[in-house]
C-alpha cells in the first residue's frame, strides 16, 4: 500500500479556496519494486489513459530553440530525436534523429510556473460607493482556475524542486491556497535521466538522476537492445498512478531491462562533472560572508535575475494592487520577484543591498545556507539551470569551490555591531 505523506493546512481551512491540500510525497518501496514494461510504440496508450482520466496532458515541446511544457495531443508532439546541449551561458537543441522521446534533459521552465504562477490574482477588491480611496471596500479571495494537468517528462530535479516548494508554500503556519489548488490538480509522469548535460549536478545534491518521490508514474526510457525493443520501465508512485498503470495492463519489466536501467542511472550519475559539497556548503558560506570572491563575482554578474527566474525553488514575490481605470475595483496580484532587483531590498530612502556583490551573496547564501535553517533542506536541487541560463555563465559550483579553496572562515565577521 502507498504510504502517503500528507501536507495539510495546520490552522484551519480556507472555505473559498478549498483544501486541505493532500500531496503524495513518499513512494512506497513495494510500489517501486513493481516495475512494468511499456513498449515504445505503445506510449500513445499512456497519453490516452491520461486524457481519459480527465487530464489535460502537457509535455516538453520544442519551442523558441528550447523545450517548454505545453499541451500535447499525440506522441509525435514530443521532441522525438532531439537532444539538448547545455554549458555555462549556453543552451542549444539539435535534431539528431532516432526515436528517443526524452532525449532533451530540460528547458528553462520546469515545474515551478505550474504551481507558483508567475502572476497570480489573489484578491478581488470592490471599492465603496463614495469617491476616493477612503470610502470603504470589500475584499474576496480569487480562486485560481481548477485545472487537472498531467505533466509528462518531469525530471528528478524538478520533483526535488517541487518538494522544496511544497515545504515553502504548504508546510508552515499559513499554507498558500493558490499554490495548493494548482498543486492538487497535477498528475506527474516523471522520466528518469540516463543522460546528463554538462551543467547537471543532481547526483551530488542527492536528488537524481533517478526519480524517487513525488511522482505519480515514473518512466525510464531504454533503447532497443538484445532482442528487446525500445520502451520504458514504468512504476507507480501514488495510488492514482497505480490505478492508471493497472488500466494499461502492462507486463512486468524484464530483468535485463532493469539491469540496463540501473547501469544507465549509475553511468549518468558518474558522468556528472559538476558538484556541490552538499553537507558542508552551509557552514562554508556562513563563515565566508566577507570573502573577496563576492567582489570578484560581482564584476561578472549583471544582476539580471535570470538565475532566480529559472530556479525551480526561488519563491520571492511582490504583491501589488492592479486597479481598474475607473478605480471602482482593484485586484491584489502577486508576481515573481528577484533578490537581484534593487527594489527587493529597498525601503524608504535606504537600500539594504545596494551593491551587486550584496545581491549575489544574498541569493547564494540564501539558496545554499539560510534555506537549510528555514526549511530543513537546501534550496538547490542541482538542476544546473542557473548556470545554463546565466548570460555570462556564472557557475555557482565554481563560486562555492573558489570560496572553499581559501575558506572556511579566513575572515569571520566580527559580531560586534560595529561594522559600518
Amino acid at each position: 500500500m502507498a504510504r502517503g505523506v500528507q501536507i495539510r493546512q495546520r490552522h484551519g481551512i480556507m472555505p473559498v479556496l478549498g483544501g486541505p491540500y493532500v500531496v503524495q510525497s513518499v513512494t512506497d518501496e513495494t510500489m517501486r519494486r513493481d516495475a512494468r514494461w511499456l513498449d515504445r510504440r505503445d506510449l500513445g496508450r499512456l497519453l490516452e489513459a491520461l486524457t481519459a482520466s480527465g487530464y489535460e496532458v502537457q509535455g516538453p515541446v520544442v519551442r523558441d530553440g528550447a523545450v517548454a511544457f505545453d499541451r500535447i495531443e499525440r506522441v509525435e508532439d514530443l521532441p522525438i530525436g532531439w537532444r539538448d546541449e547545455q554549458a555555462p551561458g549556453r543552451y542549444r537543441i539539435e535534431h539528431r534523429g532516432g526515436d528517443g522521446v526524452f532525449g532533451v534533459v530540460h528547458g528553462p521552465g520546469g515545474l515551478k510556473p505550474h504551481v507558483f504562477a508567475p502572476r497570480e490574482r489573489l484578491l478581488q477588491i470592490e471599492m465603496g460607493d463614495g469617491a476616493g480611496p477612503g470610502s470603504g471596500f470589500r475584499a474576496e479571495p480569487i480562486e485560481p482556475p481548477a485545472r487537472r494537468i498531467a505533466l509528462l517528462g518531469v525530471r528528478a530535479c524538478d520533483l526535488a524542486g517541487l518538494a522544496v516548494q511544497d515545504r515553502v508554500f504548504l508546510g508552515d503556519a499559513f499554507p498558500d491556497p493558490w499554490y495548493g489548488r494548482r498543486r492538487a490538480g497535477l498528475f506527474l509522469v516523471a522520466v528518469g535521466c540516463t543522460r546528463s548535460v554538462a551543467t547537471c549536478f543532481c547526483a551530488s545534491m542527492d536528488t537524481g538522476p533517478e526519480p524517487r518521490t513525488h511522482y505519480d508514474v515514473s518512466l525510464t526510457e531504454l533503447e532497443a537492445a538484445g532482442g528487446q525493443g525500445a520502451g520504458f520501465v514504468v512504476r507507480a508512485g501514488s495510488p492514482a498512478g497505480r490505478e492508471l498503470i493497472l488500466g494499461l495492463a502492462l507486463p512486468p519489466a524484464p530483468h535485463s531491462a532493469l539491469e540496463r536501467e540501473r547501469s544507465g542511472y549509475d553511468a549518468c550519475a558518474a558522468g556528472m562533472t559538476r558538484s556541490l559539497p552538499r553537507d558542508q556548503v552551509r557552514d562554508l558560506l556562513y563563515a565566508n560572508l566577507e570573502h573577496p570572491r563576492w567582489d570578484e563575482v560581482a564584476q561578472r554578474c549583471l544582476s539580471c535575475g535570470n538565475c532566480t527566474m529559472v530556479c525551480p525553488t526561488c519563491f520571492c514575490h511582490s504583491i501589488r494592487d492592479d486597479p481598474s481605470l475607473d478605480l471602482r475595483r482593484s485586484e491584489r496580484v502577486r508576481e515573481w520577484d528577484s533578490c537581484f532587483d534593487l527594489e527587493h531590498s529597498q525601503i524608504h530612502g535606504f537600500n539594504f543591498r545596494p551593491r551587486i556583490r550584496d545581491r549575489y551573496r544574498q541569493w547564494l547564501v540564501h539558496k545554499l545556507a539560510a534555506w537549510v535553517d528555514q526549511f530543513d533542506r537546501s534550496g538547490c536541487v542541482g538542476c544546473g539551470r542557473c548556470i545554463t541560463w546565466c548570460p555570462v555563465g556564472i557557475d555557482l559550483t565554481e563560486e562555492v569551490a573558489a570560496i572553499g579553496e581559501t575558506g572556511p572562515g579566513d575572515a569571520p565577521p566580527q559580531a560586534d555591531g560595529g561594522a559600518t
Binding site: 471596500f137 499554507p175 519563491f315 514575490h317 535553517d373 528555514q374 565577521p413 555591531g417 561594522a419
Partner: protein, 278 residues
C-alpha cells in the same frame, strides 16, 4: 489560518487623526466589524499591514496600548501608499490585517532595569511597551528612555514622553539632531545620551528601535558598557509584502523578519546584522 484568510484586509475606520507637520500622522483605527477587534489583540512590538484599496499596503507597527479599544498607527510619508494615507481623514476607511510578528520580551524583562533607545519614528513600535511597563511599574526596575529625533517636529509623542518623565525611578532624555529655538532638551544624536546614564549590566535589558545606523552604534555602545548580546533586543525593518513568511522580501540571513521577528535578541542576528549589505 491559510494565507488567503491572512491576506484579506479588514475594513477599519479612522476615528481620530493627529498630524505633526505635513509628514507625520497618528491614526486611531477601529474595525467596522465590531466583532473583529478581538482578532487584532496584540502585544507591544507587533505590526499590522495597513491597506489602501487600489494603491497598496504597508507594514506599520502598532503604537497604542494593547488595552486600548482602538488601534493606533503612527505613519510617516515615505512613499506612494503612505502619501495617500496622509490625505485620509476621520471617518475614512482603511484596510487592516494583522497583527504579525513577535513582541518585546516584556516578561523576561521583569524586575530588571530597562533601557529603551529609539531614533526618529522608531519610537512607535516601543511606545506601547513603555506604557505596558508603567502600568505594571512595580514589576520593573529603573526605566531609562533615550529618544532621538532629527527635527524637533518629529517628536510626535511629546505628551507621552513628558508624562513618563514625571514618573518616579525613570530617566527620560530627548535629543534632536536639528533642534529649533523652542527645543529645550539635548542636541545631537541619541547615542551621545549614553554618556549621561548609569547602567548596571547584570540587571539591565535594552530595547532598541530605529534606523540601522543608530542600532549599530547603540549596540556597540551598550556592549562597551558590558551588556551581553542576549540582553540587547532590536526591532528590525525590511520590505514586507505578505507578512506571513512567503514573499521572501524581509529576509536577514535565515530570519524572516515578519514571522521570526521583527524583534530579535542581538545574539541571534549578530553575524548577519553586523555584515554590511546582507
Amino acid at each position: 489560518m491559510s494565507a488567503a484568510t491572512a491576506l484579506v484586509p479588514e475594513p477599519a475606520e479612522i476615528v481620530e487623526k493627529r498630524s505633526f507637520g505635513a509628514d507625520i500622522h497618528v491614526y486611531r483605527l477601529r474595525p467596522l466589524d465590531r466583532t473583529a477587534r478581538a482578532r487584532f489583540d496584540f502585544v507591544p512590538g507587533q505590526f499590522n499591514m495597513v491597506y489602501v484599496p487600489g494603491v497598496g499596503e504597508v507594514a506599520i507597527s502598532i503604537s497604542s496600548d494593547p488595552d486600548d479599544e482602538d488601534l493606533e498607527h503612527t505613519i510617516r510619508i515615505v512613499g506612494r501608499t503612505t502619501r495617500v494615507i496622509a490625505r485620509l481623514e476621520t471617518g475614512d476607511v482603511l484596510g487592516l490585517r494583522g497583527p504579525y510578528g513577535n513582541g518585546w520580551p516584556l516578561h523576561a524583562a521583569r524586575f530588571k532595569d530597562v533601557v529603551v533607545v529609539t531614533g526618529g519614528l522608531g519610537c512607535a513600535p516601543v511606545t506601547g511597551a513603555i506604557d505596558y511597563m508603567f502600568r505594571r511599574r512595580r514589576s520593573y526596575g529603573h526605566l531609562t528612555i533615550l529618544h532621538g529625533v532629527k527635527k524637533a517636529s518629529d517628536l510626535v509623542h511629546r505628551a507621552r514622553f513628558e508624562s513618563w518623565r514625571r514618573e518616579p525611578d525613570t530617566t527620560v532624555l530627548l535629543t534632536a539632531d536639528q533642534p529649533d529655538r523652542a527645543w529645550r532638551d539635548r542636541s545631537g544624536v541619541v547615542t551621545e545620551l549614553f554618556d549621561e546614564i548609569e547602567l548596571e549590566p547584570s540587571r539591565t535589558v535594552a530595547f532598541l528601535c530605529g534606523p540601522e545606523v543608530m542600532l549599530r552604534y547603540a549596540v556597540r555602545t551598550l556592549r562597551g558598557r558590558g551588556l551581553s548580546e542576549d540582553r540587547i533586543f532590536l526591532s528590525l525593518e525590511r520590505n514586507m509584502h505578505c507578512a506571513v513568511g512567503l514573499c521572501g522580501q524581509c529576509q536577514l540571513g535565515p530570519e524572516f523578519l515578519c514571522k521570526d521577528g521583527p524583534i530579535f535578541p542581538y545574539r541571534r542576528v549578530a553575524r548577519f546584522f553586523a555584515t554590511r549589505g546582507l
